[in-house]
Amino acid sequence: MNVLGQQLVNGLFIGGVYALFAVGYTLVFGVLDILNLAHAAVFTLGGLMALWLVQNAGLTIWTAFPLAVLFAGLLGLVLDQVAFKPLRRRPDTYFSGLISSIAMAIIFESLAMGVFGAHNSRFPAGTVPVVIWRLGGITITLLQVEILAAVVLMMVALTQLLKRARVGKAIRAVAENQHAARLLGINVDGIIAFTFFLSSALGGAAGILFGLYFDALSPDMGRPIELKGLAVIVLGGMGSVPGAILGGLAFGLSEVLTVAISGTSNLRDAVAFTLLFGIMLVRPSGLLGRGRLREA
């Protein structure tokens, strides 16, 4: 029982990181209908930047975290300006956008390799103090609590932003109908750029937390999560922010439960992708359907 409880707790934490990653992923899809395959590369660069700030610039994780998140957000602006904006008026913008995001993913990954080195690295010991609690046989670390707190905080902030803030309403308007939004005086290009900033900042934050949690960073750490993130947003419903959160948690739990039940980690990804495949066949709109971003 305790083993299962421990697995559920672990699944919750890793699911939170997946959710954070997937929210950014789905945000861009909700607004632009474009799959941004460079999201995982931003995730990687966010994590590596935080590591660099801690290791080489001597900052504490508390200052490195917001700086690296900002850096990831700026990468999002670069993505938008270089890879998406020039293609926006093309008739096949969904397809060409997908391709140019792949190109940017390759470029970002090569930069990550060139600048930070192709090797595996980790945060220096003591970046986050090691504190362990035991609750009825279930172990929880301070790091896990901090990760969950960070995830929840960012999710709440994002949801409130989309729901109440002026810019959030503008994002939803652009997602609903770009032409109408433009007619109403919304700066559509500015809103799209801001969406990319937000999406990439969240992706970068997920990268940092992921690196802290698994204690390993490398230029290709984004690859597995790229596909998992895809499964998560399809599960939750493409473009749906609450769906991505739910999907992320469900995905994290399904992973640890597969390992717990089958006893090996080999099948972990198989279950996830079989799930993704099944959903595509049965209900391509996912659990929460499309358009939820618009309603927020």
């Binding site: 890879a83 792949i102 930069l111 690859r223 595509m280």
Partner: protein, 286 residues
């Protein structure tokens, strides 16, 4: 003569890879020509490779038989996969085929008969360069002819406008399935040839990265005629060698150049590099 032998020793395997990649480029080209964005062709490549490899390695099957079996197995998988997934459009089809590809890769990683993570080893090395290029020439000839047939037109009409195609009496399900299956057959053939080239195959060679590579071959070369993907595949396969010749050996720079080429092509040459070789569009014939 010595120079030729020297050249062969250095670039023989590059030519082999180029041929295989060209064949793979063509396999996605067929699927593409009917407007289907598939990321599953890498998996069909793997299915063909593993089927043929297992038959020769474990069952001592003759090579031609194994090659045919691998090709057909990939086609069969595409048929079974296509029936449910070809209803999906655009990005959703891409994701469903991607999920299928990952499931296939993970299966190869976990099954006994495929050799798991270490891969299928001790595959007899049978494939010769001429076999690859014979297959490639056959495939290219077939596709060039297909372009002007009823089926070829049906592919293009679906790509341009599905609703209009259906209204004109094109059987969407049948036509799309055919495009998907023909693409898979070519990928399966490439897989069988590749498996017998190198003594071993591993699951990682048939994953997402390969699926994306096939896409890149087509985008960079162009998808409006059969020689587009050949151009893309040949160029991108040779690129690392060219860069090495220029003194660039670092991995990141190679990767960077790859990404940059793709970005520049999609931004400035949406019809691919083959657009550079076409003077101007031929006037439409009645």
């Amino acid at each position: 003569m010595d120079a030729l032998i020297q050249f062969w020793a250095v670039y023989g395997s590059l030519l082999n890879f180029m041929g295989i990649n060209c064949l793979l480029g063509l396999s996605l080209y067929v699927t593409f020509s009917a407007g289907l964005l598939s990321l599953g062709n890498a998996a069909f490549y793997g299915i063909g490779g593993y089927t043929a490899g297992i038959l020769t390695t474990h069952f001592g099957a003759p090579f031609p038989l194994a090659l045919v079996a691998g090709t057909l197995m990939a086609g069969l998988a595409a048929l079974l996969l296509g029936l449910p997934v070809l209803r999906l459009k655009g990005v959703f089809l891409a994701m469903a085929t991607l999920a299928f590809g990952e499931v296939v890769r993970i299966a190869a990683l976990n099954l006994k008969v495929t050799g798991g993570a270490e891969g299928l080893i001790n595959i007899p090395v049978i494939t010769q360069t001429w076999m690859i290029y014979l297959a490639l020439a056959g495939a290219a000839y077939f596709l060039a002819r297909l372009h002007r047939t009823r089926l070829g037109w049906a592919f293009q009409s679906i790509r341009e406008d599905e609703t209009a195609a259906a209204a004109m009496g094109v059987n969407l399900t049948l036509t799309k399935t055919l495009a998907f299956v023909i693409g898979a057959l070519l990928a399966g053939l490439a897989g069988g040839l590749y498996a017998h080239l190198n003594f071993l195959i591993t699951p990682g060679e048939f994953g997402f990265a390969t699926a994306v590579n096939l896409l890149i071959f087509n985008i960079v070369g162009g998808t409006r005629a059969w020689y587009g993907p050949l151009l893309g595949a040949a160029l991108l396969t040779a690129l690392p060698e060219v860069l090495r010749g220029l003194g660039v050996t670092a991995g990141p720079i190679r990767l960077f150049v790859n990404g940059l080429i793709l970005l520049l092509v999609i931004l400035f040459l949406p019809k691919g590099l083959m657009a550079l070789f076409q003077r101007r569009p031929a006037p439409a014939k009645g």
